[in-house]
């Protein structure tokens, strides 16, 4: 905790300083009738966070759902595709180029089409979030499955394990560290994906934080736009921290191994 405090007080101080400078600068130089409309003011953002908290919360919940469903889809499908690629070199040659290709098509280009195909509902955004998180999941899982030590594979042979047992008791546990870094990259990307999906979908009702940003911008409520951005950042941070906690628990054996050499505290000097 002391460590945490020591690590956070400096960036926190810097942040407060930046906010103060921002507030003063806008008040000093911006045309008064454009403040809150085009130039956001920190105090205005705080006010919007408070007065529009219900609206922000409602929209955050929608965006969170999109992210969670999209991420889960990417996780499950990514894992299955990774297994297919790992076990069949034919499928590897077939699937890998397609996956890399989809990765190079910008989501901005596909998102409007998805809306046309699937309608003004949650699904086009879920699909965009899933698409964007899919790639790191597949690549990391494949690399993870390939990272098993040959000596341990020999051990499993000696003990008479079959293919299935080797996968469950050896390959997947050995792949977990890389799978988790895939999920962490995927989480951050899927937040972006969901918002991109919301931008291109113009529906009535609660359309998520991305949609809220667009409508509030049109109404020249730039403070609310920034409040939505803040919420989005918090959402992303919370998801990332949740995955990190899960990782810490699932890979607790790694922390035990690091503690052997004081690595947990020392890091790379």
């Amino acid at each position: 905790m002391i460590n945490f405090f020591r690590l956070t007080w400096l960036p926190a101080l810097l942040l407060v300083l930046l906010i103060v400078v921002w507030e003063l600068a806008v008040r000093a130089w911006a045309a008064p009738d454009l403040i809150h409309k085009i130039y956001p003011l920190p105090s205005g953002i705080a006010e919007a966070m408070w007065s529009k908290s219900f609206l922000l919360l409602q929209n955050s919940w929608v965006t969170l759902q999109e992210i969670l469903i999209g991420l889960s889809l990417a996780l499950v499908l990514g894992f299955i595709v990774a297994l297919l690629i790992f076990y069949s070199s034919t499928l590897e040659r077939l699937l890998y180029p397609i996956i890399i290709l989809t990765q190079n098509v910008p989501v901005f280009a596909i998102a409007p089409l998805l809306v046309i195909w699937m309608g003004f509902n949650i699904w086009p955004k879920v699909v965009v979030a899933a698409l964007i998180a899919f790639f790191p999941m597949v690549v990391n899982t494949v690399d993870g499955l390939r990272s098993t030590e040959p000596d341990l594979i020999q051990l499993f042979k000696i003990l008479g394990a079959d293919r299935w047992q080797r996968l469950i008791h050896l390959r997947i546990p050995a792949a977990l560290p890389l799978i988790f870094s895939g999920i962490k990259i995927g989480v951050t990307l899927s937040v972006v994906g969901a918002v991109v999906g919301e931008w291109v979908s113009s529906e009535v009702g609660i359309g998520g934080l991305g949609r809220l940003m667009m409508t509030e911008k049109r109404l020249l409520h730039v403070d609310t736009v920034f409040a939505a951005i803040l919420w989005l950042a918090l959402l992303g941070l919370m998801l990332f921290m949740a995955v990190s906690l899960l990782e810490r628990w699932a890979l607790r054996w790694k922390h035990a191994a690091e503690a052997r050499y004081n690595l947990a505290e020392a890091k790379e000097a």
Binding site: D151, L159, G160, P173, A257, R260
Partner: protein, 252 residues
């Protein structure tokens, strides 16, 4: 189980020149016999065990189990490799039970047995430690428990006590002797320790430097338990020592 190895050759392909490791190795383990293998470091002992256990296909040679030729003895051997190879994500007890689990043995029985062996091998209290939290000697003992729990008729042990201090080593040797006398296990053990070979074995194979060839087989007919300090013991040790120095001097 009776294992017979005949005319075993092995050579590792390499970029420059092929490396000959096993050169016409003949070896036999009678049912219920305790056999040790001694030989200089790098001569091919681990390679020999890898071939018997089926991890490595030899260049040529024949393996017989109870006079039937087999490609390898994988399903018959409990092989403890030179490295402990514990799974870093499993705690000590589940690591020790890995073989039993993979062979779909009754896990309750396996656990009872594993706990008993932990007790006997001074591992009690460390059941829930990760391998990285154990010392080298402790890891080796966990690997030994894992090997024993597979209940195969032939034990292949590659320096099973290499990482242990003299006292613990002697205690485990005594334990192994008792275990072996109780179940009349066939055992093939690689060791670098003359005393260990002499205390335990019926016969000792002495291998030449690489490529390994059986230089001599010494029969130890002292009654068990053997007193390491007795005159008879020292005499056999002297004989063994002479043969070994002969082998080593030939390598120059």
């Amino acid at each position: 189980m009776h294992l017979n190895v005949k005319g075993l050759f092995h050579c590792f392909p390499s970029l420059t020149a092929a490396i000959d490791v096993l050169d016409d190795v003949q070896l036999e383990i009678q049912s219920g016999e305790f056999v040790s293998v001694l030989g200089p470091s790098g001569c091919g002992k681990s390679t020999l065990l890898n071939v018997i256990s089926g991890l490595l296909t030899p260049t040529s040679g024949h393996l017989f189990i109870d006079d039937v030729e087999v490609p390898h003895a994988q399903s018959q051997v409990a092989y403890m490799q030179q490295k402990d190879l514990l799974l870093p994500w499993r705690r000590a007890l589940p690591n020790a039970m890995l073989g039993a689990q993979l062979n779909k043995a009754n896990l309750m029985d396996a656990e009872t047995e594993a706990r008993k062996l932990f007790e006997q091998f001074d591992l009690a209290g460390y059941e829930q430690h990760y391998p990285s939290e154990l010392s080298g000697g402790m890891r080796q003992r966990v690997a030994l428990v894992r090997t024993l729990l597979t209940h195969r008729p032939l034990w292949l042990l590659d320096e099973p006590f290499g990482a242990l201090d003299a006292l613990t080593r002697m205690r485990l040797q005594d334990w192994m002797l008792k275990a072996w006398e109780n179940v009349q296990q066939s055992i093939l053990m690689v060791t670098h320790d003359l005393d260990e070979a002499l205390v335990l074995s019926d016969r000792i194979y002495i291998l030449t430097p690489r490529p390994a060839h059986v230089h001599a087989v010494i029969k130890v007919s002292l009654p068990r338990p053997r007193d390491r300090m007795s005159v008879a013991f020292t005499e056999v040790k002297k004989e063994l020592w002479d043969v070994l120095s002969e082998v080593l001097s030939k390598s120059d």
